[in-house]
Symmetry: C2
Subunit: 296 residues, 2 copies
Protein backbone atom coordinates (compact mmCIF):
# COMPACT_ATOMS: atom_id res chain seq x y z
CA UNK A 1 0.00 0.00 0.00
CA UNK A 2 1.21 3.50 -0.80
CA UNK A 3 1.62 5.70 2.28
CA UNK A 4 -0.81 8.60 2.01
CA UNK A 5 -0.57 11.95 3.84
CA UNK A 6 -2.18 11.93 7.31
CA UNK A 7 -3.68 15.38 6.82
CA UNK A 8 -4.60 17.60 3.87
CA UNK A 9 -5.82 21.14 3.27
CA UNK A 10 -8.90 21.76 1.17
CA UNK A 11 -8.79 25.09 -0.67
CA UNK A 12 -12.45 25.88 -1.23
CA UNK A 13 -13.05 27.66 -4.58
CA UNK A 14 -16.84 27.47 -4.82
CA UNK A 15 -17.43 31.14 -4.07
CA UNK A 16 -14.94 32.25 -6.72
CA UNK A 17 -14.33 29.63 -9.41
CA UNK A 18 -17.75 28.13 -8.76
CA UNK A 19 -20.01 31.19 -8.83
CA UNK A 20 -17.93 32.79 -11.59
CA UNK A 21 -18.97 29.96 -13.90
CA UNK A 22 -22.63 29.65 -12.95
CA UNK A 23 -25.25 31.18 -15.22
CA UNK A 24 -27.32 32.53 -12.35
CA UNK A 25 -26.01 35.56 -10.51
CA UNK A 26 -26.59 35.54 -6.75
CA UNK A 27 -26.80 38.70 -4.66
CA UNK A 28 -24.00 39.88 -2.43
CA UNK A 29 -25.77 38.99 0.83
CA UNK A 30 -26.14 35.40 -0.36
CA UNK A 31 -22.47 35.28 -1.33
CA UNK A 32 -21.43 36.57 2.10
CA UNK A 33 -23.61 34.00 3.81
CA UNK A 34 -22.17 31.29 1.54
CA UNK A 35 -18.59 32.17 2.51
CA UNK A 36 -19.50 32.32 6.21
CA UNK A 37 -21.23 28.95 6.04
CA UNK A 38 -18.25 27.38 4.29
CA UNK A 39 -15.94 28.67 7.02
CA UNK A 40 -18.36 27.45 9.69
CA UNK A 41 -18.32 23.98 8.08
CA UNK A 42 -14.61 23.85 8.82
CA UNK A 43 -13.08 24.70 5.46
CA UNK A 44 -9.67 26.14 6.31
CA UNK A 45 -9.30 28.32 3.20
CA UNK A 46 -12.21 29.88 1.34
CA UNK A 47 -11.29 31.84 -1.78
CA UNK A 48 -13.98 34.50 -1.72
CA UNK A 49 -14.10 36.32 -5.05
CA UNK A 50 -12.15 37.83 -7.93
CA UNK A 51 -11.31 41.48 -8.62
CA UNK A 52 -11.68 40.89 -12.34
CA UNK A 53 -13.33 43.52 -14.53
CA UNK A 54 -17.16 43.19 -14.34
CA UNK A 55 -17.25 43.27 -18.14
CA UNK A 56 -15.58 39.83 -18.18
CA UNK A 57 -17.17 38.29 -15.09
CA UNK A 58 -20.40 40.11 -14.23
CA UNK A 59 -21.18 37.39 -11.65
CA UNK A 60 -18.45 38.83 -9.38
CA UNK A 61 -18.96 42.56 -10.01
CA UNK A 62 -19.69 43.00 -6.30
CA UNK A 63 -16.23 41.83 -5.18
CA UNK A 64 -15.30 44.93 -3.19
CA UNK A 65 -18.71 45.13 -1.53
CA UNK A 66 -18.52 41.44 -0.62
CA UNK A 67 -15.05 41.76 0.92
CA UNK A 68 -16.15 44.81 2.90
CA UNK A 69 -19.13 42.89 4.25
CA UNK A 70 -17.02 39.86 5.13
CA UNK A 71 -14.36 42.00 6.83
CA UNK A 72 -11.90 39.11 6.92
CA UNK A 73 -8.47 39.94 5.43
CA UNK A 74 -7.38 36.30 5.52
CA UNK A 75 -9.76 35.25 2.75
CA UNK A 76 -7.87 34.93 -0.55
CA UNK A 77 -9.10 36.73 -3.65
CA UNK A 78 -8.12 36.40 -7.27
CA UNK A 79 -6.54 39.47 -8.87
CA UNK A 80 -5.95 39.43 -12.62
CA UNK A 81 -3.51 42.35 -12.69
CA UNK A 82 -2.26 45.45 -10.86
CA UNK A 83 -5.65 47.16 -10.93
CA UNK A 84 -7.08 44.16 -9.09
CA UNK A 85 -4.17 44.28 -6.67
CA UNK A 86 -4.88 47.97 -5.96
CA UNK A 87 -8.41 47.10 -4.95
CA UNK A 88 -7.19 44.26 -2.70
CA UNK A 89 -4.63 46.59 -1.08
CA UNK A 90 -7.25 49.27 -0.47
CA UNK A 91 -9.31 46.69 1.41
CA UNK A 92 -6.35 45.52 3.49
CA UNK A 93 -6.46 41.95 2.21
CA UNK A 94 -3.54 39.62 2.84
CA UNK A 95 -3.87 36.80 0.34
CA UNK A 96 -4.14 37.08 -3.42
CA UNK A 97 -4.04 34.65 -6.29
CA UNK A 98 -3.00 35.26 -9.89
CA UNK A 99 -4.20 33.20 -12.83
CA UNK A 100 -1.56 32.17 -15.38
CA UNK A 101 -1.67 29.89 -18.39
CA UNK A 102 0.47 26.91 -19.29
CA UNK A 103 -0.28 27.31 -22.99
CA UNK A 104 0.32 29.93 -25.65
CA UNK A 105 -3.23 29.90 -27.00
CA UNK A 106 -4.95 30.26 -23.64
CA UNK A 107 -2.51 33.01 -22.56
CA UNK A 108 -3.53 34.77 -25.74
CA UNK A 109 -7.26 34.29 -25.30
CA UNK A 110 -7.48 34.82 -21.55
CA UNK A 111 -4.71 37.37 -20.91
CA UNK A 112 -4.19 38.87 -24.36
CA UNK A 113 -0.50 38.08 -23.92
CA UNK A 114 1.91 35.52 -25.29
CA UNK A 115 3.03 32.69 -23.00
CA UNK A 116 6.27 34.62 -22.35
CA UNK A 117 4.67 38.03 -21.95
CA UNK A 118 2.44 36.85 -19.11
CA UNK A 119 5.42 36.75 -16.72
CA UNK A 120 6.23 40.41 -17.38
CA UNK A 121 2.57 41.21 -16.84
CA UNK A 122 2.38 39.36 -13.52
CA UNK A 123 5.74 40.55 -12.19
CA UNK A 124 4.75 43.99 -10.83
CA UNK A 125 1.58 42.52 -9.29
CA UNK A 126 3.50 39.82 -7.45
CA UNK A 127 6.40 42.11 -6.45
CA UNK A 128 4.12 44.80 -5.08
CA UNK A 129 1.95 42.24 -3.29
CA UNK A 130 4.98 40.65 -1.64
CA UNK A 131 6.34 44.07 -0.66
CA UNK A 132 2.99 44.76 1.01
CA UNK A 133 3.39 41.51 2.98
CA UNK A 134 0.77 39.62 0.99
CA UNK A 135 0.84 35.93 0.26
CA UNK A 136 0.52 35.06 -3.45
CA UNK A 137 -0.86 31.88 -4.95
CA UNK A 138 -0.40 31.24 -8.68
CA UNK A 139 -2.96 29.27 -10.62
CA UNK A 140 -1.49 27.50 -13.62
CA UNK A 141 -4.34 26.74 -16.00
CA UNK A 142 -4.46 24.19 -18.85
CA UNK A 143 -1.79 21.98 -17.24
CA UNK A 144 -3.03 18.77 -18.88
CA UNK A 145 -4.84 19.63 -22.08
CA UNK A 146 -5.89 22.73 -23.92
CA UNK A 147 -8.97 22.95 -26.20
CA UNK A 148 -6.88 24.39 -29.04
CA UNK A 149 -3.50 22.73 -28.56
CA UNK A 150 -4.46 19.29 -27.27
CA UNK A 151 -2.15 17.57 -24.78
CA UNK A 152 0.22 20.00 -23.06
CA UNK A 153 3.86 18.87 -22.72
CA UNK A 154 4.90 18.27 -19.11
CA UNK A 155 8.17 20.21 -19.45
CA UNK A 156 6.24 23.25 -20.71
CA UNK A 157 3.97 23.18 -17.64
CA UNK A 158 6.93 22.78 -15.30
CA UNK A 159 8.72 25.67 -16.98
CA UNK A 160 5.69 28.00 -16.70
CA UNK A 161 5.05 26.93 -13.10
CA UNK A 162 8.66 27.46 -12.09
CA UNK A 163 8.74 30.95 -13.60
CA UNK A 164 5.55 31.92 -11.73
CA UNK A 165 6.97 30.48 -8.53
CA UNK A 166 10.24 32.32 -9.03
CA UNK A 167 8.38 35.61 -9.40
CA UNK A 168 7.38 35.19 -5.75
CA UNK A 169 4.40 32.86 -5.54
CA UNK A 170 4.25 30.72 -2.44
CA UNK A 171 2.12 28.00 -4.00
CA UNK A 172 1.17 26.80 -7.48
CA UNK A 173 -2.29 25.41 -8.12
CA UNK A 174 -1.98 23.05 -11.09
CA UNK A 175 -5.28 23.19 -12.94
CA UNK A 176 -6.87 20.73 -15.33
CA UNK A 177 -9.08 23.51 -16.62
CA UNK A 178 -10.91 21.36 -19.19
CA UNK A 179 -10.90 18.16 -17.14
CA UNK A 180 -9.21 15.89 -19.69
CA UNK A 181 -6.30 14.64 -17.55
CA UNK A 182 -6.04 11.15 -16.13
CA UNK A 183 -4.34 9.65 -13.10
CA UNK A 184 -1.03 8.62 -14.67
CA UNK A 185 -0.57 12.06 -16.22
CA UNK A 186 -1.21 13.65 -12.81
CA UNK A 187 1.53 11.57 -11.20
CA UNK A 188 3.95 12.31 -14.02
CA UNK A 189 3.40 16.06 -13.81
CA UNK A 190 3.83 16.21 -10.03
CA UNK A 191 6.91 14.01 -10.22
CA UNK A 192 8.39 16.27 -12.90
CA UNK A 193 7.85 19.32 -10.69
CA UNK A 194 9.66 17.52 -7.88
CA UNK A 195 12.58 16.74 -10.18
CA UNK A 196 12.70 20.43 -11.10
CA UNK A 197 12.99 21.37 -7.42
CA UNK A 198 9.36 22.20 -6.66
CA UNK A 199 8.17 19.64 -4.14
CA UNK A 200 4.64 18.82 -3.05
CA UNK A 201 4.73 21.49 -0.31
CA UNK A 202 4.70 24.13 -3.05
CA UNK A 203 1.93 22.50 -5.10
CA UNK A 204 -1.83 22.22 -5.05
CA UNK A 205 -4.06 20.45 -7.59
CA UNK A 206 -7.23 21.78 -9.15
CA UNK A 207 -9.35 19.28 -11.04
CA UNK A 208 -12.50 19.65 -13.07
CA UNK A 209 -14.92 16.77 -13.51
CA UNK A 210 -15.80 17.33 -17.17
CA UNK A 211 -14.78 13.77 -18.08
CA UNK A 212 -15.49 12.24 -14.66
CA UNK A 213 -11.79 12.05 -13.75
CA UNK A 214 -11.55 14.63 -10.94
CA UNK A 215 -11.69 12.37 -7.90
CA UNK A 216 -9.54 9.60 -9.41
CA UNK A 217 -6.98 12.31 -10.23
CA UNK A 218 -7.16 13.63 -6.67
CA UNK A 219 -6.48 10.13 -5.39
CA UNK A 220 -3.50 9.81 -7.73
CA UNK A 221 -2.19 13.18 -6.49
CA UNK A 222 -2.55 12.02 -2.87
CA UNK A 223 -0.48 8.98 -3.73
CA UNK A 224 2.43 11.17 -4.83
CA UNK A 225 2.23 13.33 -1.73
CA UNK A 226 0.05 16.32 -2.64
CA UNK A 227 -1.57 17.80 0.48
CA UNK A 228 -3.52 20.80 -0.88
CA UNK A 229 -6.64 20.15 -2.95
CA UNK A 230 -8.84 22.74 -4.61
CA UNK A 231 -12.52 21.81 -4.58
CA UNK A 232 -15.86 23.52 -4.99
CA UNK A 233 -18.76 23.05 -2.60
CA UNK A 234 -21.53 21.14 -4.34
CA UNK A 235 -19.43 20.97 -7.50
CA UNK A 236 -20.37 24.58 -8.33
CA UNK A 237 -18.91 25.95 -11.53
CA UNK A 238 -20.51 24.92 -14.75
CA UNK A 239 -23.69 23.03 -15.25
CA UNK A 240 -22.90 19.39 -16.07
CA UNK A 241 -25.61 19.41 -18.71
CA UNK A 242 -24.31 22.39 -20.60
CA UNK A 243 -22.08 21.94 -23.63
CA UNK A 244 -19.28 23.77 -21.87
CA UNK A 245 -19.52 21.51 -18.84
CA UNK A 246 -16.54 22.32 -16.67
CA UNK A 247 -17.75 21.50 -13.16
CA UNK A 248 -15.15 21.58 -10.42
CA UNK A 249 -14.36 18.62 -8.24
CA UNK A 250 -17.13 18.65 -5.62
CA UNK A 251 -15.76 19.25 -2.13
CA UNK A 252 -18.24 16.75 -0.70
CA UNK A 253 -17.06 13.92 -2.97
CA UNK A 254 -13.46 14.67 -1.98
CA UNK A 255 -14.40 14.74 1.72
CA UNK A 256 -16.18 11.38 1.40
CA UNK A 257 -13.01 9.85 -0.04
CA UNK A 258 -10.77 11.45 2.59
CA UNK A 259 -13.06 10.20 5.36
CA UNK A 260 -12.82 6.68 3.94
CA UNK A 261 -9.05 6.94 3.74
CA UNK A 262 -8.83 8.23 7.32
CA UNK A 263 -7.15 11.46 6.20
CA UNK A 264 -7.74 14.50 8.39
CA UNK A 265 -9.27 17.62 6.77
CA UNK A 266 -11.36 19.39 9.41
CA UNK A 267 -14.58 19.67 7.39
CA UNK A 268 -17.98 18.72 8.76
CA UNK A 269 -19.64 16.89 5.85
CA UNK A 270 -23.23 17.37 7.02
CA UNK A 271 -22.81 21.16 7.39
CA UNK A 272 -21.16 21.33 4.01
CA UNK A 273 -23.92 19.32 2.31
CA UNK A 274 -26.56 21.53 3.93
CA UNK A 275 -24.74 24.60 2.60
CA UNK A 276 -24.56 23.18 -0.92
CA UNK A 277 -28.24 22.24 -0.88
CA UNK A 278 -29.07 25.78 0.21
CA UNK A 279 -26.90 27.27 -2.55
CA UNK A 280 -28.36 24.92 -5.18
CA UNK A 281 -31.80 26.27 -4.26
CA UNK A 282 -30.54 29.84 -4.69
CA UNK A 283 -29.13 28.91 -8.11
CA UNK A 284 -32.23 26.99 -9.08
CA UNK A 285 -30.46 23.82 -10.10
CA UNK A 286 -29.49 20.43 -8.69
CA UNK A 287 -25.96 20.04 -7.33
CA UNK A 288 -23.79 17.87 -9.58
CA UNK A 289 -22.07 16.45 -6.49
CA UNK A 290 -22.91 12.76 -6.09
CA UNK A 291 -22.54 12.99 -2.32
CA UNK A 292 -24.86 15.99 -2.10
CA UNK A 293 -27.42 14.14 -4.21
CA UNK A 294 -27.13 11.00 -2.10
CA UNK A 295 -27.25 12.71 1.30
CA UNK A 296 -29.59 15.63 0.63
CA UNK B 1 5.00 4.84 -10.23
CA UNK B 2 2.94 1.69 -9.68
CA UNK B 3 3.02 -0.73 -12.60
CA UNK B 4 -0.49 -1.05 -14.01
CA UNK B 5 -1.86 -3.89 -16.15
CA UNK B 6 -1.23 -3.45 -19.88
CA UNK B 7 -4.69 -4.74 -20.79
CA UNK B 8 -8.04 -5.08 -19.05
CA UNK B 9 -11.45 -6.61 -19.74
CA UNK B 10 -14.58 -4.51 -19.40
CA UNK B 11 -17.62 -6.57 -18.39
CA UNK B 12 -20.53 -4.49 -19.66
CA UNK B 13 -23.55 -4.68 -17.35
CA UNK B 14 -25.73 -1.89 -18.78
CA UNK B 15 -28.25 -4.20 -20.42
CA UNK B 16 -28.78 -6.16 -17.19
CA UNK B 17 -27.80 -4.23 -14.05
CA UNK B 18 -28.44 -0.96 -15.86
CA UNK B 19 -31.87 -1.53 -17.39
CA UNK B 20 -33.02 -3.55 -14.38
CA UNK B 21 -32.69 -0.41 -12.25
CA UNK B 22 -34.14 2.15 -14.65
CA UNK B 23 -37.70 3.33 -14.12
CA UNK B 24 -38.57 3.25 -17.82
CA UNK B 25 -39.07 -0.13 -19.44
CA UNK B 26 -37.71 -0.45 -22.96
CA UNK B 27 -39.10 -2.92 -25.50
CA UNK B 28 -37.32 -6.12 -26.45
CA UNK B 29 -36.29 -4.89 -29.90
CA UNK B 30 -34.55 -1.89 -28.34
CA UNK B 31 -32.79 -4.15 -25.84
CA UNK B 32 -31.57 -6.43 -28.62
CA UNK B 33 -30.28 -3.46 -30.60
CA UNK B 34 -28.60 -2.13 -27.45
CA UNK B 35 -26.72 -5.39 -26.89
CA UNK B 36 -25.71 -5.59 -30.56
CA UNK B 37 -24.46 -2.02 -30.54
CA UNK B 38 -22.44 -2.62 -27.36
CA UNK B 39 -20.79 -5.65 -28.98
CA UNK B 40 -20.15 -3.64 -32.15
CA UNK B 41 -18.46 -0.93 -30.04
CA UNK B 42 -15.92 -3.56 -29.03
CA UNK B 43 -17.10 -4.53 -25.57
CA UNK B 44 -15.75 -8.05 -25.07
CA UNK B 45 -18.42 -9.23 -22.61
CA UNK B 46 -22.00 -7.97 -22.58
CA UNK B 47 -24.20 -9.36 -19.83
CA UNK B 48 -27.54 -9.37 -21.58
CA UNK B 49 -30.35 -9.91 -19.07
CA UNK B 50 -31.53 -11.74 -15.98
CA UNK B 51 -33.86 -14.74 -15.69
CA UNK B 52 -35.31 -13.38 -12.49
CA UNK B 53 -39.05 -13.66 -11.82
CA UNK B 54 -40.92 -10.83 -13.62
CA UNK B 55 -42.72 -10.10 -10.37
CA UNK B 56 -39.42 -8.82 -8.93
CA UNK B 57 -37.91 -7.26 -12.02
CA UNK B 58 -40.63 -6.45 -14.56
CA UNK B 59 -38.06 -4.52 -16.63
CA UNK B 60 -36.47 -7.83 -17.68
CA UNK B 61 -39.62 -9.97 -18.09
CA UNK B 62 -38.70 -10.50 -21.74
CA UNK B 63 -35.41 -12.29 -20.96
CA UNK B 64 -36.13 -15.49 -22.90
CA UNK B 65 -37.50 -13.60 -25.90
CA UNK B 66 -34.44 -11.32 -25.90
CA UNK B 67 -31.97 -14.22 -25.78
CA UNK B 68 -33.83 -15.98 -28.58
CA UNK B 69 -33.63 -12.85 -30.71
CA UNK B 70 -29.93 -12.35 -29.97
CA UNK B 71 -29.15 -16.01 -30.69
CA UNK B 72 -25.70 -15.71 -29.12
CA UNK B 73 -24.95 -18.35 -26.45
CA UNK B 74 -21.78 -16.56 -25.34
CA UNK B 75 -23.65 -13.67 -23.76
CA UNK B 76 -23.80 -14.09 -19.97
CA UNK B 77 -27.13 -13.92 -18.16
CA UNK B 78 -27.93 -13.67 -14.48
CA UNK B 79 -29.84 -16.59 -12.98
CA UNK B 80 -31.13 -16.24 -9.42
CA UNK B 81 -31.78 -19.94 -8.86
CA UNK B 82 -32.39 -23.34 -10.51
CA UNK B 83 -35.54 -22.19 -12.29
CA UNK B 84 -33.49 -19.47 -13.94
CA UNK B 85 -30.82 -22.02 -14.80
CA UNK B 86 -33.43 -24.24 -16.44
CA UNK B 87 -34.42 -21.40 -18.73
CA UNK B 88 -30.78 -20.68 -19.60
CA UNK B 89 -30.19 -24.37 -20.35
CA UNK B 90 -33.27 -24.58 -22.57
CA UNK B 91 -31.86 -21.72 -24.63
CA UNK B 92 -28.44 -23.35 -24.91
CA UNK B 93 -26.61 -20.52 -23.13
CA UNK B 94 -23.05 -21.03 -21.94
CA UNK B 95 -22.41 -18.34 -19.34
CA UNK B 96 -24.41 -17.62 -16.22
CA UNK B 97 -23.94 -15.43 -13.20
CA UNK B 98 -25.37 -15.88 -9.71
CA UNK B 99 -25.95 -13.05 -7.25
CA UNK B 100 -24.86 -13.66 -3.66
CA UNK B 101 -24.69 -11.40 -0.63
CA UNK B 102 -21.80 -10.59 1.67
CA UNK B 103 -24.16 -9.64 4.50
CA UNK B 104 -26.79 -11.37 6.57
CA UNK B 105 -29.40 -8.64 6.20
CA UNK B 106 -29.15 -8.36 2.43
CA UNK B 107 -29.16 -12.17 2.04
CA UNK B 108 -32.37 -12.09 4.01
CA UNK B 109 -33.97 -9.27 2.07
CA UNK B 110 -32.81 -10.23 -1.41
CA UNK B 111 -32.69 -14.04 -1.23
CA UNK B 112 -34.96 -14.77 1.73
CA UNK B 113 -32.09 -16.83 3.14
CA UNK B 114 -29.54 -16.45 5.90
CA UNK B 115 -25.97 -15.70 4.94
CA UNK B 116 -25.12 -19.38 5.43
CA UNK B 117 -28.22 -20.76 3.73
CA UNK B 118 -27.41 -18.94 0.48
CA UNK B 119 -24.58 -21.38 -0.28
CA UNK B 120 -26.93 -24.37 -0.05
CA UNK B 121 -29.35 -22.51 -2.31
CA UNK B 122 -26.70 -21.75 -4.94
CA UNK B 123 -24.99 -25.14 -4.85
CA UNK B 124 -27.34 -27.13 -7.13
CA UNK B 125 -27.47 -24.23 -9.60
CA UNK B 126 -23.68 -24.02 -9.83
CA UNK B 127 -23.14 -27.79 -9.87
CA UNK B 128 -25.71 -28.39 -12.63
CA UNK B 129 -24.39 -25.44 -14.64
CA UNK B 130 -20.84 -26.73 -14.45
CA UNK B 131 -21.97 -30.25 -15.37
CA UNK B 132 -23.63 -28.74 -18.43
CA UNK B 133 -20.30 -27.13 -19.35
CA UNK B 134 -21.37 -23.64 -18.40
CA UNK B 135 -19.13 -20.96 -17.02
CA UNK B 136 -20.36 -19.41 -13.75
CA UNK B 137 -19.62 -15.94 -12.42
CA UNK B 138 -20.58 -15.09 -8.83
CA UNK B 139 -21.56 -11.57 -7.89
CA UNK B 140 -20.82 -10.76 -4.27
CA UNK B 141 -22.99 -7.82 -3.30
CA UNK B 142 -22.57 -5.37 -0.38
CA UNK B 143 -18.81 -6.00 -0.18
CA UNK B 144 -18.04 -2.58 1.33
CA UNK B 145 -21.09 -1.31 3.15
CA UNK B 146 -24.65 -2.41 3.72
CA UNK B 147 -27.56 -0.01 4.30
CA UNK B 148 -28.64 -1.88 7.42
CA UNK B 149 -25.34 -3.15 8.83
CA UNK B 150 -22.95 -0.33 7.92
CA UNK B 151 -19.34 -1.19 7.11
CA UNK B 152 -18.87 -4.86 6.19
CA UNK B 153 -15.85 -6.64 7.72
CA UNK B 154 -13.25 -7.64 5.15
CA UNK B 155 -12.84 -11.17 6.53
CA UNK B 156 -16.59 -11.73 6.18
CA UNK B 157 -16.49 -10.71 2.50
CA UNK B 158 -13.48 -12.92 1.84
CA UNK B 159 -15.19 -15.85 3.55
CA UNK B 160 -18.39 -15.45 1.51
CA UNK B 161 -16.43 -14.97 -1.71
CA UNK B 162 -14.28 -18.01 -1.12
CA UNK B 163 -17.29 -20.22 -0.43
CA UNK B 164 -18.98 -19.07 -3.66
CA UNK B 165 -15.75 -19.65 -5.55
CA UNK B 166 -15.35 -23.10 -4.02
CA UNK B 167 -18.86 -24.04 -5.17
CA UNK B 168 -17.52 -23.79 -8.72
CA UNK B 169 -17.53 -20.14 -9.76
CA UNK B 170 -14.77 -19.12 -12.13
CA UNK B 171 -14.82 -15.46 -11.19
CA UNK B 172 -16.09 -13.29 -8.33
CA UNK B 173 -17.42 -9.82 -9.03
CA UNK B 174 -16.93 -7.80 -5.84
CA UNK B 175 -19.75 -5.28 -5.72
CA UNK B 176 -20.02 -2.00 -3.87
CA UNK B 177 -23.78 -2.16 -4.25
CA UNK B 178 -24.49 1.09 -2.41
CA UNK B 179 -21.37 2.92 -3.57
CA UNK B 180 -19.98 3.84 -0.16
CA UNK B 181 -16.50 2.29 -0.50
CA UNK B 182 -13.31 4.29 -0.95
CA UNK B 183 -9.96 3.58 -2.55
CA UNK B 184 -8.04 2.32 0.48
CA UNK B 185 -10.83 -0.10 1.39
CA UNK B 186 -10.78 -1.42 -2.19
CA UNK B 187 -7.07 -2.18 -1.99
CA UNK B 188 -7.42 -3.80 1.43
CA UNK B 189 -10.23 -6.08 0.27
CA UNK B 190 -8.42 -7.21 -2.88
CA UNK B 191 -5.22 -7.76 -0.93
CA UNK B 192 -7.11 -9.84 1.65
CA UNK B 193 -8.53 -12.03 -1.13
CA UNK B 194 -5.00 -12.54 -2.42
CA UNK B 195 -3.80 -13.59 1.02
CA UNK B 196 -6.68 -16.08 1.17
CA UNK B 197 -5.53 -17.65 -2.09
CA UNK B 198 -7.87 -15.87 -4.55
CA UNK B 199 -5.67 -13.74 -6.78
CA UNK B 200 -6.66 -10.95 -9.13
CA UNK B 201 -7.22 -13.43 -12.01
CA UNK B 202 -10.26 -14.71 -10.11
CA UNK B 203 -11.64 -11.28 -9.25
CA UNK B 204 -13.59 -8.49 -10.91
CA UNK B 205 -14.78 -5.24 -9.33
CA UNK B 206 -18.22 -3.68 -9.62
CA UNK B 207 -18.55 -0.09 -8.44
CA UNK B 208 -21.52 2.20 -8.12
CA UNK B 209 -21.11 5.97 -8.25
CA UNK B 210 -23.64 6.89 -5.55
CA UNK B 211 -21.01 8.86 -3.63
CA UNK B 212 -18.84 9.74 -6.65
CA UNK B 213 -16.18 7.15 -5.77
CA UNK B 214 -16.57 4.65 -8.61
CA UNK B 215 -13.74 5.72 -10.88
CA UNK B 216 -11.28 6.48 -8.07
CA UNK B 217 -12.03 3.00 -6.75
CA UNK B 218 -11.46 1.49 -10.19
CA UNK B 219 -8.08 3.22 -10.34
CA UNK B 220 -7.21 1.85 -6.90
CA UNK B 221 -8.22 -1.64 -8.06
CA UNK B 222 -6.03 -1.28 -11.17
CA UNK B 223 -3.11 -0.43 -8.92
CA UNK B 224 -3.45 -3.74 -7.08
CA UNK B 225 -3.67 -5.72 -10.29
CA UNK B 226 -7.39 -6.13 -11.06
CA UNK B 227 -7.96 -6.66 -14.78
CA UNK B 228 -11.74 -7.15 -15.02
CA UNK B 229 -13.99 -4.14 -14.48
CA UNK B 230 -17.77 -4.11 -14.51
CA UNK B 231 -19.23 -0.95 -15.98
CA UNK B 232 -22.52 0.24 -17.44
CA UNK B 233 -22.80 2.10 -20.73
CA UNK B 234 -23.84 5.67 -20.06
CA UNK B 235 -23.93 4.96 -16.32
CA UNK B 236 -27.33 3.25 -16.71
CA UNK B 237 -28.83 1.92 -13.54
CA UNK B 238 -30.47 4.40 -11.26
CA UNK B 239 -31.18 8.03 -11.91
CA UNK B 240 -28.60 10.18 -10.11
CA UNK B 241 -31.34 12.58 -9.09
CA UNK B 242 -33.52 9.98 -7.43
CA UNK B 243 -33.32 9.36 -3.71
CA UNK B 244 -32.25 5.79 -4.35
CA UNK B 245 -29.40 6.89 -6.59
CA UNK B 246 -27.29 3.85 -7.29
CA UNK B 247 -25.83 4.54 -10.73
CA UNK B 248 -23.19 2.17 -11.99
CA UNK B 249 -19.72 3.26 -12.98
CA UNK B 250 -20.18 4.64 -16.50
CA UNK B 251 -18.27 2.60 -19.08
CA UNK B 252 -17.33 5.78 -20.95
CA UNK B 253 -15.72 7.39 -17.88
CA UNK B 254 -13.73 4.19 -17.31
CA UNK B 255 -12.68 4.07 -20.97
CA UNK B 256 -11.53 7.71 -20.83
CA UNK B 257 -9.28 6.88 -17.86
CA UNK B 258 -7.95 3.70 -19.48
CA UNK B 259 -7.17 5.62 -22.68
CA UNK B 260 -5.23 8.19 -20.66
CA UNK B 261 -3.34 5.45 -18.85
CA UNK B 262 -2.52 3.70 -22.13
CA UNK B 263 -4.27 0.51 -21.04
CA UNK B 264 -5.72 -1.64 -23.80
CA UNK B 265 -9.46 -2.45 -23.66
CA UNK B 266 -10.72 -2.77 -27.24
CA UNK B 267 -13.65 -0.37 -26.96
CA UNK B 268 -14.35 2.38 -29.48
CA UNK B 269 -15.33 5.36 -27.34
CA UNK B 270 -17.22 7.26 -30.05
CA UNK B 271 -19.41 4.25 -30.90
CA UNK B 272 -20.08 3.66 -27.25
CA UNK B 273 -21.04 7.29 -26.59
CA UNK B 274 -23.35 7.24 -29.61
CA UNK B 275 -25.00 4.10 -28.24
CA UNK B 276 -25.48 5.66 -24.80
CA UNK B 277 -26.92 8.84 -26.29
CA UNK B 278 -29.37 6.72 -28.30
CA UNK B 279 -30.36 4.73 -25.20
CA UNK B 280 -30.75 7.89 -23.10
CA UNK B 281 -33.25 9.12 -25.70
CA UNK B 282 -35.17 5.85 -25.43
CA UNK B 283 -35.24 6.19 -21.64
CA UNK B 284 -36.13 9.87 -21.82
CA UNK B 285 -33.39 11.07 -19.50
CA UNK B 286 -29.87 12.48 -19.67
CA UNK B 287 -26.98 10.07 -19.22
CA UNK B 288 -25.24 10.52 -15.84
CA UNK B 289 -21.89 9.74 -17.52
CA UNK B 290 -19.67 12.82 -17.51
CA UNK B 291 -17.93 11.68 -20.71
CA UNK B 292 -21.23 11.12 -22.52
CA UNK B 293 -22.38 14.61 -21.45
CA UNK B 294 -19.11 16.19 -22.57
CA UNK B 295 -18.84 14.41 -25.92
CA UNK B 296 -22.49 14.11 -26.94
Amino acid sequence: MTALPAKVTIWEVGARDGLQNEKSVVDVQTKAEFVRRLLAAGLPIVEATSFVHPKWVPQLADAAELMTMLDNPDLPVLVPNERGLDRALELGLKHIAIFGSATETFANKNLNRSLDEQFAMFEPTVVRAREAGMDVRAYVSMCFGDPWEGAVPIDQVVSVGKRLFDLGASQLSLGDTIGVGTAGHVKQLITAFGEAGLGTDALAVHFHDTYGQALANAYAALEVGITTFDASAGGLGGCPYAESATGNLATEDLVWMLNGLGIEHGVDLDSLVATSVWMAEKLGRESPSRVVTALA
